[in-house]
Structures are given as C-alpha cells and as structure tokens.
Symmetry: C2
Subunit: 344 residues, 2 copies
Amino acid sequence: MYKLNSITENKLIEDITKNYNRSPIQINKLQESDSELLNINLLKNDQLAVTTDSIVEEIEVGIYKDPYLIGWMTVMVNMSDLAAVGATPVGVLVSEILPDFLDDSFRTKLHNGISDACKVCSTYVIGGDTNFGKQLIISATAIGITKNKMFNTRTGCKPGDVLYTTGKLGIGNAYALTQLADMENKINYKPIARLKVGKAICGIASCCIDTSDGVIAALDQLMRLNNVGIKMVPDWNDKMDVNSKTVMKELNLPNWFLLAGQHGEFELVFTVPTEKVSILEKISFQHSLHFLRIGEIQSKEGFYLNINDEPVKLPTERIRNIGSRKNFNLNSYLKSLLEIDSSL
Amino acid sequence: MYKLNSITENKLIEDITKNYNRSPIQINKLQESDSELLNINLLKNDQLAVTTDSIVEEIEVGIYKDPYLIGWMTVMVNMSDLAAVGATPVGVLVSEILPDFLDDSFRTKLHNGISDACKVCSTYVIGGDTNFGKQLIISATAIGITKNKMFNTRTGCKPGDVLYTTGKLGIGNAYALTQLADMENKINYKPIARLKVGKAICGIASCCIDTSDGVIAALDQLMRLNNVGIKMVPDWNDKMDVNSKTVMKELNLPNWFLLAGQHGEFELVFTVPTEKVSILEKISFQHSLHFLRIGEIQSKEGFYLNINDEPVKLPTERIRNIGSRKNFNLNSYLKSLLEIDSSL
C-alpha cells in the first residue's frame, strides 16, 4: 500500500494544510488535482474579485517579527482589499518561500496565524505553493465575489462628498515605530479586514480604498484618481487611536506622522455624497457599524490638515515618495518627515 | 492637475503593466480598485479553477538564467495546471520580488516573457504586486473556469487503463542538465501549456496530471493517489525527445534519468479506459491533437520500465526524495541517481 506522505514534498504539504479547515465548496481533496476546483455560482450581474499581496519588506525591516502576526497579516492584507470593493471572500491561495533556518515552532505559529485570520474572515486556504529561499516571503491571493453589480471602486467621489473611516487611525504606524525603534510595545496590532462594512456601503459610498499603505497614501491616491482635493475635519486628532498618540508623545513626534507613515491600520476610507449621508447613518444604526467622519472632498487641489489650529496644505507627493520601501531606514525616513514638518 | 505616476510606486506599476494587454472582462482600470473586478458567468455546473506556483529554485540553482524564460515560465507553470484540469484561463495575477540590482533591460525581458506567454494562452495579467527583496522570486496565481462539470483530476484511473502523454518526454531535464553543467545549449526549452488537449480529454481521461516535476514524479503521484502500478511500454525510449537523448549520450548518462529528474517538460500525462480509447483516437484525428501511448495502469504495485530489454521496478519513492530541492547540488544528485542505476 502506497503512502502519499512517504514523499518529502507531499509530507511538507500535509504538514502545512493539517492546520487549515477545508472549504465546503472545494471539489478536490488535497493533492488530488493540479488546480483547485471550486463550486461557485456567478450570475450575469455578479463579479469575481481577486487580489494579491506579499509580506516582504515588513519582515525584512523588522516591523513583523512574530510568526503568528506574519501569518495573520498575509491573509488580512488581502481580505482588506476584498473588503474595500465590498466582496465576500471565497478563499485564499498562500505561497510561501521558507528559509532553511526556520524551526518547526516558527512554522506552526505562522500557519496558526493564517488559519485564525481565515476563521475570523469566514474563509479558507484553498491552495498554495511552498518553496525554499534565502528569506521568508509570504504571498497570498484572495478570491471573492460581489453580487448584483454592487461593488466599490476608488473612483467616483465629487466635491462636497463626506469622507469617512471605519475606525480610529494611526495604529499601523504607531506599531511600526515601536518595532523599529525597539520600544516597549504598547500597541496591540492585529487588524481585522472590514468585510462587513465594505459590503454594507456598496451603493452608498462614492469611492472606497483601504489604508494598507497608511492614510495619506490612500487619500492622495483618491485625490489623483478623482482629481479632487481633501480637507480634513478640524478635530482630526480626535479620530486618532489613543495609544498611538501616546507613542508619538514619547518619541516627541507630531501626530500627523501617524497619517503619513506607510504602514497601514487596514481601515477603509470612503466617501459618501451628502444626499446619502442619512442612508449611511441608518445602516450604521441598523447593523451596529461604526464610522468616523474625517473630512470632505473639495474641488481645490491638495490635502489640507489643521496644524496648530491652522489649515495647512501637506506635500503628499513628497510624503509618499520618501516612503519608498527600497532600502528603508527609520532615522532617515523620520528626518525627511521632520524636515517637512518644520517647513509647514 | 494631479499625475498618478508622480508617485514612485504608481510609476513602477505603470511601467510594468504597459507591457500587458488588458483583459476585456476586467471592469476596473489600473489603480482604480483595491481588488481586480472581473465579469465572469459561472452557472450551476461550472467550476472555478485556481492554482499558484512560484519560480524560485530554478532561478537560484541556475536552470533559468534568461529573464524572458523566467517570465514565460511564471505564466506557463500555472497555465499547465489549468490545462491538466481542463480549464479555460481567465487570467493571472503576478507577484514579483525584485532585487535592487536588476537593470531595466532585465525587467523588460521578464515582462515580455510574461506578456508573450499570456498571448499564447489567450489570457491576461489581471493584477499583481511588486516588492523588493534579496533574490528574484516570481509567483503567479492563475484563474480559470471549467464548464458543465467537465474537468480532470488526478484520481479515477483503474488497472487496464492506457497511459498517454501529450508530447515527447525529457526536454525539461535535458535543458536543466545543459544549464547546470554549463554545456552548449542544444535544447530549445519553451513549453506551451496543453490547454487545448486538457479540455479535449475531459470526460475521456480517467485521470490527468502535468509533468511539472518530471515524469516519474507525476506518475508516482498518480500511483499513490489511485493505489495502482504502472508498466511503461517496451519502446518508451522512442517517446523521448531526440535532442534530449543526444545530451544524455554526451554526458554518458542513461536515458531513464530524463524521466527521473524533477525539472518538467510540462506535458500532460493521462489515462484512458480501454473502452474510451477509440473516442480518444477520434478526437485526436478531428482536432489534430497529438498523443503518445507510453504505458498501462496495472493492479500490481510499482513503476516498471524496460532497461536492457528487461522490465525493472524503479524505486520511485527514493528517486523523488533525492530530488528534494532544498540545497540542490547537481553532482550529488546525479551520484545518487547513478547508484540507483547500478542497483537495477
């Protein structure tokens, strides 16, 4: 009698997948097909939503050290992209590059993180690929569906539209700072993709994007795609996460850096035309969904934020481009941001 | 007026995607959505087929040096998995990890390889992700559809079923040898996924797998999954690629190594019950499809191959496990294979 796992590669795959629940819509069992086969109905007005994202630099520069968090984020960054368009997840494919030096306990934690993130999002690992390489790299591709032409994109907002976020901001960058500056960690960073909200705002939101690269990167991208400007609410500081502000105080850095940094909190930011704000309030109440009003779309170009009670135009292009992830160095990055701060 | 590509990351994505044709079923334009949105119909009996595969070790050990080939293979290895199940491709998502030292010309060739492979398979790059890392790693995820419950899996063959391949064998391993042993290259290695054939044999084949890890790995996997043995045809050597056999002659290595090595030719191997062989012959003639009969499924355990006119049972488990890709070394690999050869 043959055994599948007498073959090293088969055993490796079995070891990984034993941590995962199997999708009820998956037709083939493990190893039994060259491609994963899924029973899905997609009618005339339905769409398939797909996205892919890798965790590379966050590991390399030292923002993610905990293997459980690496696994969790591998799934969540992709789920967050599905959330932004309003899709319901179908599953994820996980591609791992494992360095030789990883021990079993590291890998178990990694796969527990992947498995737990899938459970929270009611989704499944439906396939994957494992290879060996020089550094740990994990990519995932997520697949989802949207029904009845109901989906959000990044385009469609108009001057006057109200800008919202799905939660307090800044935790992504505050967490990155604590990790990079080797501070005692006060930040519990474990984002959950806003899948329920993303779906609920379909047909109400005029555009939507997640804050995977930080808030300013997200809002600057919306400004470019829609050829509009943004004015943040005067009390934007009250929409920032409290613990994150404590981190900034300890480091003597201005709070607006929490919006500028490129490690995201994975909230959604979206716009709603004024005539639909009452509908948003209604669904917020009905479904116990939480939104924060953070700004307004305007025709005047630029991103305006109150600093010392004065609206200031932030150089978002410069802010985004100093954050290029190639050869990242915290000190030179902060130095560049401080130069911008003193020029405001 | 804003420009999207004033932002370094946007420009990078624009530079890459300018080489690619846009899928006609893709709803969102570049940058305009967090997830790619596709118009697909999948009715009650249709399936989504998905697969993911990375090119890592082939680059690291030196089998793939040409960036065009790397791009080509990134798409083809995934298309071949779709071919094996009989799916029609919908698109691929490409995830790149680029080392800093890559020049523009390398990247252009890489993307040309990806683009050309997509064209040959009538498919599209529908999304992707680009990061920077220590070594070049490219992964892709392919999405396809199968209609009316017509798909192939790796399970279902029975003793007596006839074993076929979609083309001459050995070219994958012969190419790997020429590259690893720094021989003058006599092998034109540029596999094309057998998408047309894979679809044509749905409902006729009792199981199907591609030879992405070589022929013996594929057939051993079928034996394990179906609990059967395989007897190769006495003239199996005539089904081997002629140029590949020349390479083996020059290196003074036995031809069965062309089946044993783990760098594939990306043909399909599949089984057909005897009562359906005439149907296979008919569709072969009607659609000008080419098949080679290479063996037979038997109830007796083991993989039997004629060597010096005598049927010999090859230790396929051992053969597969010496090929573990971790820390691959050509000389020790060949030494292990030669030990097996002398024990036959």
